[in-house]
């Protein structure tokens, strides 16, 4: 089993999960026994093939609903586990039935427990038994398509412009501090249109994505917004952040994204889906760790264009002011 699954099991497969699985299993066996011993014959007959098809459909739907974005192998694995548990329930019920009847005739007992009523019961209880194990199912890994782009001079200009205040510092005034999601919605030609957000500096060719470890991103998300699988992933699972989101905000010494945008970059169910959140939570912003972003950028990004120094800056560098210092002890 991969390391990720073991870690997921360690964190999410708690004692309560194991206890609920055991209780569900025992309850299923007891109920199946009760149904098997019911004398009333079913009023309708369904072929075995139909039962199998319906059962597979239910299992398949359940597995998919549990893990949105599940991989094909994970989906098949989930269905097989459900079938296995379902058959285990039927077999255990058969053994118990043969023991209760005292004849030890297992094939006959199995024939009775494999009938429609107990089988449907076993199938639904299999869902209950397997549910805590859903975190172990592998998910499909989707990454935004990597692309390379070369910045235009205009884009570089936008990236370093510090607002209308002092040009000496890359500070943005309140009006200039446009979050990137607002900038995107500005009309073309404006200061924050799409062209200006697809930025880089000085004609550098940059990779289109910055990978951040999942744990560092989740640490910035309020705990109540974490999804069911948040702790099921490898903490170092890469979260791809588009570079055009990062570059325009570097001058603000913080990278902020809206939770809705972040949702698209995170693995499935790591945070609660936007549909589950009210409007206030949807507009919540998340601070991305600058200390993990900046080191991934080439230093050329931070090169400043030549500046004309103020008049006071012109001094003879050989001159100095002497202070009567005493040597350090």
């Amino acid at each position: 089993m991969p390391r990720q699954s073991w870690e997921a099991m360690r964190r999410d497969f708690t004692a309560i999960s194991g206890f609920s699985m055991a209780i569900s299993f025992v309850a299923a066996v007891v109920l199946c026994l009760q149904i098997t011993q019911t004398k009333a014959a079913p009023e309708w007959q369904i072929s075995g093939a139909t039962v199998w098809i319906v059962q597979l459909a239910i299992f398949g739907t359940a597995v998919y609903a549990w893990r949105p974005g599940i991989s094909l192998s994970g989906w098949i694995l989930g269905i097989l586990v459900l079938i296995f548990v379902s058959l285990s329930l039927t077999t255990t019920t058969s053994v118990a039935l043969a023991f209760i009847q005292g004849d030890g005739n297992f094939p006959t007992a199995f024939g009775r427990t494999a009938s429609l009523g107990p089988r449907v019961c076993a199938a639904f209880f299999a869902l209950m038994v397997v549910y805590p194990l859903r975190v172990l199912l592998p998910i499909r890994r989707e990454r935004p398509r990597r692309r390379r782009f070369t910045a235009t001079d205009d884009a570089a200009g936008v990236a370093v412009a510090g607002g209308e205040g002092d040009p000496a510092v890359l500070l943005v005034g309140r009006d200039d501090a446009i979050p990137v999601w607002e900038a995107r919605s500005r009309p073309a030609g404006g200061r924050g249109d799409d062209q200006s957000t697809s930025v880089s500096m000085g004609g550098l060719e940059l990779d289109g994505i910055i990978d951040l470890p999942l744990h560092a991103v989740l640490a910035q998300v309020p705990r109540e917004l974490w999804g069911g699988s948040a702790q099921g992933y490898d903490p170092s699972h890469p979260v791809p952040v588009p570079i055009e989101v990062v570059l325009p905000q570097l001058k603000e010494a913080r990278i902020v994204v809206r939770l809705l945008d972040l949702y698209d970059w995170l693995p499935p169910d790591a945070v609660r889906s936007p549909a589950e959140l009210d409007d206030g939570k949807q507009s919540e912003v998340v601070l991305l760790p600058l200390e993990l972003i900046v080191p991934q950028l080439p230093l050329e990004v931070f090169e400043l264009p030549p500046a004309t120094p103020p008049a006071w800056a012109h001094v003879d560098e050989n001159e100095s002011v002497l202070f009567a210092t005493i040597p350090a002890k």
Binding site: V160, G162, G165, D166, P167, A168, V169, L170, L171, L250, K251, E252, A253, R254, L290, E291, V294, P295, L299, V301, F302, E303, L304, A307, P309, P310, A311, W312, A313, H314, V315, D316, E319, S320, V321, L322, F323, A324, T325, I326, P327, A328
Partner: protein, 200 residues
């Protein structure tokens, strides 16, 4: 503003250490106080809270070697970095001749550096000063810590005008006198330039 007393042959200039809270402004002054000859400095006046936060401001009078026969005195001030003490910061800036902007190099303080720099500009503007006419240098302090931003990014953030800047470890004195010297030279040169312009 700097004053020149021709009768006493004395020049007096005011240098202000500016920057966000806990960035090391007082530490700069303390190091200077501890490492200058006692007869060339006055007492350091410091009003701090029990948590070592500057409550009002720190003040250290300092005398440099004679320049062209003039005794040169520098009055070193720090401002309280905490956001709520802006009126005090503004007061300290009155008549400033040069500024050492002390940045905290730690990642989590970068935003505070920016906000403090904007605050410096606003407060200077309230007196009709600007950084185009007031000499200043940028000191990147706490370079000995591990969780710090690279110099390239700090320069990108804080020093677009590309004025003199230097790394410092004020606690151990690294870069402290270098910063002081750099600003003093520029303040005196600026004063000289103004005098010449006035005479012309």
């Amino acid at each position: 503003m700097a004053s020149i007393n021709y009768a006493l042959k004395e020049i007096s200039c005011k240098i202000v250490y500016y920057g966000p809270g806990m960035c090391g402004k007082t530490t700069n002054l303390q190091f200077i106080h501890q490492h200058t000859a006692p007869d060339k400095r006055g007492n350091m006046v410091s009003l701090a809270t029990p948590g070592e936060r500057t409550l009002f401001f720190d003040f250290l009078p300092l005398e440099a070697a004679q320049i062209h026969g003039f005794r040169t005195k520098f009055q070193l001030y720090t401002v309280p970095g905490q956001v709520m003490y802006n009126s005090t910061r503004k007061l300290v800036l009155r008549g400033v001749d040069g500024v050492i902007f002390v940045c905290d190099s730690q990642w989590e303080k970068l935003r505070e550096n920016l906000e403090s720099f904007r605050n410096l500009q606003d407060n200077l503007a309230s007196y009709g000063y600007s950084l185009e006419t007031t000499p200043y240098i940028v000191q990147y302090n706490k370079r000995d810590l591990t969780h710090i931003a690279p110099m390239e990014y700090l320069q990108y953030l804080m020093n677009r005008r590309q004025v003199p800047s230097m790394e410092a470890i004020a606690l151990h004195g690294g870069g402290v006198f270098e910063s002081l010297n750099a600003i003093c030279v520029r303040v005196l040169a600026n004063l000289s330039r103004k005098q010449k312009a006035g005479a012309a």
